[in-house]
């Protein structure tokens, strides 16, 4: 319940104006977050639901980008949920937080306000043990049911635990090597916590497979040959299925061949990326981000360095990246967007039956881009190219290999010539071929038009991002809505389609391919103009262990698959820290699966494969 009626309708469009308005309406429940380096507001948990509705409806922040938890063990000893809400017409974030005591944390669920909070709250429950009253299905999402403890809590330690933070003391100067597995803390003497029901692990019945999914269907009963009283059937797809693009499982409830509900099950590739990230130093994390969405590692690097650079800029010793550095970053990111979309369209076609002919045509072009990445960054996929305030290295003069003791067949091209040829001839030619092959293809149109429809309102409410959001008629592209790097000076259009079906998503991707080429055409003269300029502001590479000032930062970029965000908290001594306190990845592949259920309802089983393909996920990022 609002404690005071709003004095006047909201007139200001700024974030500050919105916060003032909110504070005037809820004077007791809202206070500014005045910790050093923090921003936004802290909201009283008891009124969180009302305030969230007010933020969505009255203040217009209808898009919940990220909801994540932070464990402040030893720094206030509380759990905190951090929400980043945006307006779908563009602009900055309204950051609001709710706190709860650490032992039995309880924060009201916001699923009734933003459906996009669904998976993210389940993740916070799974990894932090925060309870969300009001959540429709608060079960583990990344860890398996029966897992003991909540692994992201600061006092939880993994197997082979060595130290809280890297670098580990045992490596130098007395680094006598041993394998972690030889020092297995569990050894052969495994003991199970009391809560685990061991008999369940032996349970091979059908119902055990679907336990905790909340399907509302009695699996045993429909499997009974005599039980004709129900016509619903539960079908398990995955995790080992070629159409799931990795290890991903979907549990479908089908009526005949029509899907009535779909429940995504994930976590098979979960490695607790975020916990690893909190043990790491800031620099260590860059190559780890490559392994999230491994199709577009340049974009992953970019989001992360943006977040850390924001934190670094709070300190005294910080140099902004040079113009050449920004140009190179944008070029790399756009090239990886092209790779991503060629890949996404190609494999989506595999999913709906055009087996491998189109995708091989696209991979041909992708190979050239990979060659370029390899020559510049040293690796085709795990680029690890960006650094805080700079890059690994400038472009080499020539894309060149030398035949030597180990490898024989050499290549040698001028880099700028190679790039120019690629941007002005090869990639546009491939996109033309792609369109000729597919856009008017009647089979493709019949398979995809009207299938997997997501309305604009749902897309926003479910926190969909990227081509999934823009394919539903919401012209939201972070490069325009909340520009970063040098995107505000580049000329390009936001690709958007209104239909909201699989075909619309395909068209958005094709348009984005063309827009990326348009951006690259503007990048090339900028590269020529900045030739010789350093990629580092002070001419020399950054430190190997930068100390990052206290504070929080949310760096988000428009990656190929959607909004990729990094929420980073730096907490520690006065001089800053070398290791992040909290490192969270807002993964588009993960959150874009939230509307998978409603998109699949009423379609045939064969379409589910196509719908999943049209979302475009990478399990490295989904499961983290």
């Amino acid at each position: 319940m609002p404690t005071a009626a709003p004095d006047a309708p909201l007139t200001s469009t700024t974030i500050e104006g919105a916060i003032d308005h909110l504070r005037a309406t809820y004077p007791e429940a809202v206070r500014a977050d005045d910790r050093e380096g923090y921003g936004g507001i802290i909201v009283d948990s008891a009124q969180l639901l009302d305030i969230a509705r007010f933020i969505r409806d009255d203040l217009g922040f209808d898009y919940l980008s990220s909801a994540t938890a932070v464990d402040y063990l030893g720094a206030g000893d509380h759990m905190e949920m951090v929400y980043h809400a945006y307006r779908s017409r563009g602009g900055g974030a309204l950051v609001f937080k709710a706190q709860a005591e650490r032992e039995q944390p309880e924060i009201p669920s916001l699923v009734s306000v933003w459906r996009g909070a669904d998976f993210q709250e389940r993740e916070a429950w799974d990894l932090y043990g925060i309870h969300f009253p009001g959540h429709p299905n608060l079960t583990r999402i990344l860890m398996w049911e029966g897992f003991h403890g909540h692994p992201m809590r600061k006092d939880w330690r993994e197997a082979y635990y060595e130290e809280e933070q890297k670098p580990f003391d045992s490596r130098w100067p007395g680094g006598h090597v041993h394998r972690a597995e030889e020092k297995n803390v569990f050894g052969k003497n495994v003991s199970y916590p009391r809560e685990i029901d061991l008999s369940r692990l032996m349970d091979t019945s059908e119902s055990a497979v679907y336990q905790s999914l909340g399907l509302g269907v009695d699996v045993e009963r429909v499997m009974d040959k005599d039980g004709f009283e129900t016509n619903e059937l539960v079908v398990n797809m995955g995790p080992h299925h070629p159409s799931t693009h990795g290890v991903f499982r979907m549990v479908l409830t089908v009526d005949g061949e029509t899907v009535t509900s779909l429940e995504p099950v994930m976590g098979y590739l979960h490695r607790n990326h975020e916990k690893i990230g909190e043990r790491n130093t800031y620099l260590h994390n860059i190559p780890f981000t490559d392994r999230l969405d491994y199709i577009s590692s340049m974009g992953n690097n970019h989001g992360y360095v943006l977040a850390v650079e924001h934190l670094l800029s709070l300190g005294r010793r910080y140099n902004e990246p040079t113009y050449r550095c920004e140009t190179l970053r944008v070029m790399m990111v756009e090239l990886s967007r092209i790779v991503n979309h060629l890949w996404a369209i190609g494999f989506w076609l595999n999913d709906i039956g055009a087996f491998f002919t189109p995708v091989l045509y696209f991979i041909q072009e992708r190979e050239r881009i990979m060659d370029f990445f390899e020559a510049v960054a040293g690796s085709r996929m795990m680029c690890n190219y960006m650094r805080f305030g700079g890059l690994f290295a400038d472009l080499p003069e020539r894309i060149k290999s030398v035949s030597n003791l180990v490898n024989d067949r050499a290549r040698d091209y001028n880099t700028m010539q190679f790039l120019t040829e690629m941007v002005s001839e090869r990639i546009p030619r491939t996109i033309d071929e792609l369109e000729q092959l597919l856009t008017q293809n009647e089979i493709l149109i019949e398979r995809s038009v009207g299938v997997g429809v997501l309305s604009a309102a749902d897309a926003i409410n479910y926190s969909a991002a990227g081509p999934l959001l823009r394919g539903s008629g919401v012209p939201y592209d972070i490069r325009r809505a909340d520009p970063y790097s040098i995107y505000d000076e580049l000329d390009f259009d936001v690709a958007v389609e209104d239909a909201g079906d699989m075909y619309a998503r395909y068209l958005v991707r094709v348009k984005e391919l063309r827009e990326s080429v348009r951006i690259l055409r503007q990048i090339l003269p900028r590269l020529e103009a900045t030739q010789g300029e350093s990629i580092w502001a002070d001419g020399k590479p950054g430190a190997y262990a930068p100390r990052v000032p206290l504070g929080e930062a949310y760096g988000r970029v428009e990656n190929g698959k959607g909004e990729l965000g990094y929420y980073i908290v730096s907490a520690g001594g006065k001089s800053g820290t070398a290791n992040p306190w909290r490192y969270h990845v807002r993964a588009p592949s993960f959150i874009n699966l939230t509307p998978m259920g409603i998109m699949s309802q009423g379609h045939k089983v064969a379409d589910i494969v196509g719908i999943l393909g049209s979302i475009d996920i990478v399990l490295g990022e989904t499961d983290r």
């Binding site: 090597v177 290999s401 067949r409 293809n441």
Partner: protein, 275 residues
């Protein structure tokens, strides 16, 4: 008309199919020959289609910056004073900057004084854990650890073959110059000598009688005028130490002294922690 889109698409597949034969005829079926000369035809920018590289009969040479598991640089066997000596000073930066923490270094100690010496006693890299990020090479202040181009590391037993020790890791400087000539040359320019920093320092110390020329000038001196010039694998010839252009300054002596003391303090602390 229904089916036009389909026909257009199929025309494209047909064109790709025909093009592959046209390409074959244009290059006189040389695409299928394994000779080195024909490799450019098959992997060039002008060729159409994807053509399989006949691995392992032929291997595409990787670009210079390609990174696979690291190796340690040791001085060439024909070096007059430092043959086979490690470039590594066991400063430990690579171990600290390694994201998966797969580098293990035992720092050497002088058997008489117990003081740390700038040379690793043992050096291990667990290549199962290495993520090939290249940080060790990037942040090494002595250019002593580099990323290799040899990616064929499969073995039948990971427990015996996959922890590389110093003997397995060490490769001569000339190997690095052969796999990455441009970068080796750039590093030489930055370092001011083809030799290890310390070797150059030693040489300077030997000729420190005259402390005339200022340091910055000396630093600028060894940079050759022509940038396009390919580095020749003759380290001693281009060494500035040989030309006697770099004198030893008072500052260097002080810095060396400070460094030595700091290293001692560190060793004491480590010893305390260990005990």
């Amino acid at each position: 008309m229904y089916g036009t889109g389909l026909a257009k698409g199929l025309m494209l597949t047909l064109r790709h199919f025909v093009d592959s034969y046209i390409d074959d005829i244009r290059y006189g079926f040389r695409k299928y020959s394994h000779s080195v000369d024909n490799f450019g035809i098959r992997q060039g920018t002008q060729t159409k289609g994807v053509i399989t590289v006949q691995y392992p009969d032929e291997k595409v040479a990787v670009p210079e910056r390609f990174r696979f598991v690291p190796f340690l640089i040791v001085e060439d066997e024909d070096h007059p004073t430092r043959a086979g000596k490690d470039w590594c000073t066991s400063c430990g930066i690579c171990a600290k900057v390694c994201p998966p923490q797969c580098i293990w270094i035992v720092r050497g100690n002088d058997p008489d004084t117990g003081r740390p010496v700038p040379e690793p006693e043992a050096f291990f890299i667990d290549i199962d854990i290495c993520m090939n990020c290249g940080y060790c090479a990037e942040y090494c202040p002595f250019d002593a650890i580099k990323m290799d181009h040899d990616y064929e590391l499969a073995s039948y037993d990971r427990t015996t073959h996959h922890i590389h020790d110093k003997a397995r890791l060490s490769k001569p400087n000339s190997y690095w110059r052969s796999i990455a000539p441009t970068r080796a040359y750039e590093e030489m320019l930055a370092r001011g000598t083809w030799e290890h920093k310390d070797a150059a320092k030693e040489a300077r110390r030997g000729q420190s009688a005259s402390r005339s020329a200022p340091r910055p000038a000396a630093k600028a001196a060894p940079a050759p005028a022509k940038k396009e010039a390919q580095p020749t694998p003759a380290p001693a010839a281009q060494s500035p130490a040989a030309e006697g252009a770099t004198p030893w300054s008072e500052d260097d002596a002080k810095r060396e002294e400070r460094r030595r003391k700091a290293l001692e303090r560190k060793a004491r602390r480590a010893a305390k922690r260990g005990g």
